[in-house]
Symmetry: C2
Subunit: 353 residues, 2 copies
DNA sequence: CCCTAGTTCTGAATTGATTAAGAAGCGACC
DNA sequence: GGTCGCTTCTTAATCAATTCAGAACTAGGG
């Protein structure tokens, strides 16, 4: 069976290719009767409709935006924060008939290829930890929005003040009287050298993302409260429930046990709560836990956390891509955050002592 | 600034367009030294790389698969089942360097347009309720996999035996001694006429999906247990936590209150648990609740439910699209399900009476 | 010296549409 | 009758690449 194109139909009906094209794309340009006949013949021949790639090529518009993740897609879908963001972005995209093309990071070279081959009108870089493929994406010379990290001069940006927000979280816990505080740093899962990752004074590079910013915020608060940062129990893990559980176990099995854990994401906070429950440690009487993000599961779990407008971040990024701003000044949207006190934080057990 | 294409570079370097193309796509076809020079000039001119649409057009391959949902994308991301499925599908896609293009259903005509314009090599129809756009998708004459519903002759299919699985769920509850049983039917959110939706004997059309199949399974079990289906309290809602809460409230405020609720999705079961908690109804002592799907949140909540291999469904569908089967017989994959008894089902309070 | 093979590059055809410019036909108006 | 404008359709150019067949050149073997 031959391939059916506009030309095939044109020959059959005895009109020009242009007219057939118009029958599909600009009905006002031809006689209604003729149009019906063309569509009928198209149906008979099993014509699948105008070829999208050819159309895109000619029109110079794909009607799709690409979302590039720092981790594998499988991981992105396991993360409530990422899912919430996508939810927002997808909702504005689809309302304008724009598709969403997801691009993960299975391996550096594969991702590079996929980015180069993506038929899209713009990219959103969703990268809590700074994106190693920023360069690759920028090279496409399409509209781009970065979310969270990195901030690139001249590129629209959507994010929050991670450091300040984390500081407020820590202040809340310290304000309750906690002094034996533990912190869990999160770092990306996929392979990158993470040497010195916890050294907050090291100059920031692309990898200086939300994880380190939040750590820095915790440190700010601790030092203000007269705590030495080096006295704070510090461990690190990834934003993955299972891995985080292991790190949480290390913290909670320490002697003396910390009375409060600052978790830089809710996912990690949940892991701490899991392990505490396993150990029979009562929260918040014996242990305070605070998270970050306020994912949907946080409220039912009663988790004290820092709320950031997850879905709104998505809609904002989506809008910036669906209608890229024409002016010269790239918008830099900083979203508000809010401390949400629930039932996992309380004064330490020895508060009166 | 002029647009930079292969030709621009070719003219600058003084070679043919073909050679420049080879420099990017087939490095073995030209001298290493020349290639370096071409790439260098490309860099100077700010060439964004071979145009993906042109490439796709010529190659006849997009390297992307489309996933079409029955609901809005925003809804898809709110549903753990959909997210789990996507997780599986995305993981196999990205491992082969294949992109994932998401298509929601904001409005019938917009969706039709988006499907026609999607630059993809195949489609996955993800549709718990039978997809109204099956025809539109099939018209593209690309490889297709339908998931759950509908089953179309000659089109690869991935699903489970909803009816049989639901029957086993109901049998579990009835086996515990429950006789005042309530059922919550789920139906799609977006606008379609739902008249007669609960009439299970009406011949199945495209809309006859998981919701009705599960209901039918409940009925099978009830009738086997000597219960009249018309005596079973039946209400319907959507697979949305908030809407389901309202329906759950109606059920639980009834007098006499049912001792067991069969929820055809975990999401609905959670809503029932929420309302029960609000009312101070003790689960499972006063009320048994059983769900369906076994989404990740089910285990921590202790929800008794029917497990279906959500992520595996995704990987299976993904594989069928990344490497479409060449043979004539379209594969029809029926996945296994399993009753998972946890802590939300028990004998009814009046069991001894 | 000739023939073959291999490397490196070119020219032309091809992929499947959209679009701008223009031609033909026809009625209305002055 | 001329011309203006409208509808309807066509011609040719364009979008930006890939690919196939073949040309030019070099080197090696006989």
């Amino acid at each position: 069976m031959e391939r059916v194109t506009l030309q095939t139909i044109a020959d059959r009906v005895g009109v020009s290719r242009t007219t057939v094209s118009n029958a599909f794309s600009r009905p006002d340009q031809l006689n209604e009767e003729l149009r019906r006949r063309i569509l009928e013949v198209a149906g008979e021949l099993g014509y699948p409709g105008p070829h999208p790639a050819a159309r895109t090529l000619r029109r110079g518009r794909a009607g799709v935006i690409g979302v590039v993740f720092t981790e594998t897609l499988s991981y992105a879908f396991a993360d409530s924060y990422a899912v919430g963001f996508l939810r927002g972005l997808a909702s504005v995209a689809e309302q304008s008939g724009t598709g969403v093309h997801l691009i993960g990071w299975p391996s550096p070279d594969l991702a590079e290829e996929v980015i180069g081959d993506a038929v899209v009108d713009g990219f959103c870089l969703f990268s809590p930890e700074g994106h190693p493929l920023v360069e690759t994406v920028l090279r496409r010379r399409l509209p781009v929005v970065t979310v969270d990290y990195p901030y690139v001069e001249g590129v629209p940006f959507v994010g929050i003040e991670d450091r300040a927000a984390a500081r407020r979280a820590a202040e809340h816990v310290l304000g309750l009287g906690h002094r034996r505080v533990a912190v869990l740093g999160v770092q990306p899962v996929v392979g990158r050298t993470n040497r010195d990752w916890l050294d907050l004074d090291r100059p920031g590079d692309l990898r200086f993302g939300a994880g380190r910013a939040r750590l820095a915020g915790y440190r700010d608060a601790c030092e203000d409260a007269g705590l030495e940062w080096k006295d704070v129990v510090l461990d690190r893990t990834a934003n993955d429930r299972e891995l985080a559980r292991r790190a949480a176990a290390r913290l909670l099995d320490a002697d003396p046990r910390p009375t409060a854990v600052l978790a830089p994401t809710d996912e990690v906070a949940f892991a701490v709560l899991d392990v505490a429950a396993q150990r029979g440690i009562e929260v918040p009487r014996e242990l305070s836990v605070i998270g970050f993000d306020d994912v949907p599961a946080a409220a039912p779990a009663g988790l004290t956390t820092v709320r950031q407008p997850i879905t709104e971040k998505g809609t904002t990024a989506g809008r910036l891509l669906v209608e890229p701003p024409r002016g010269e000044a790239a918008p830099c949207v900083i979203m508000p955050t809010e401390l949400v006190v629930r039932r996992t934080t309380a004064p330490p057990p020895d508060a009166g002592a």
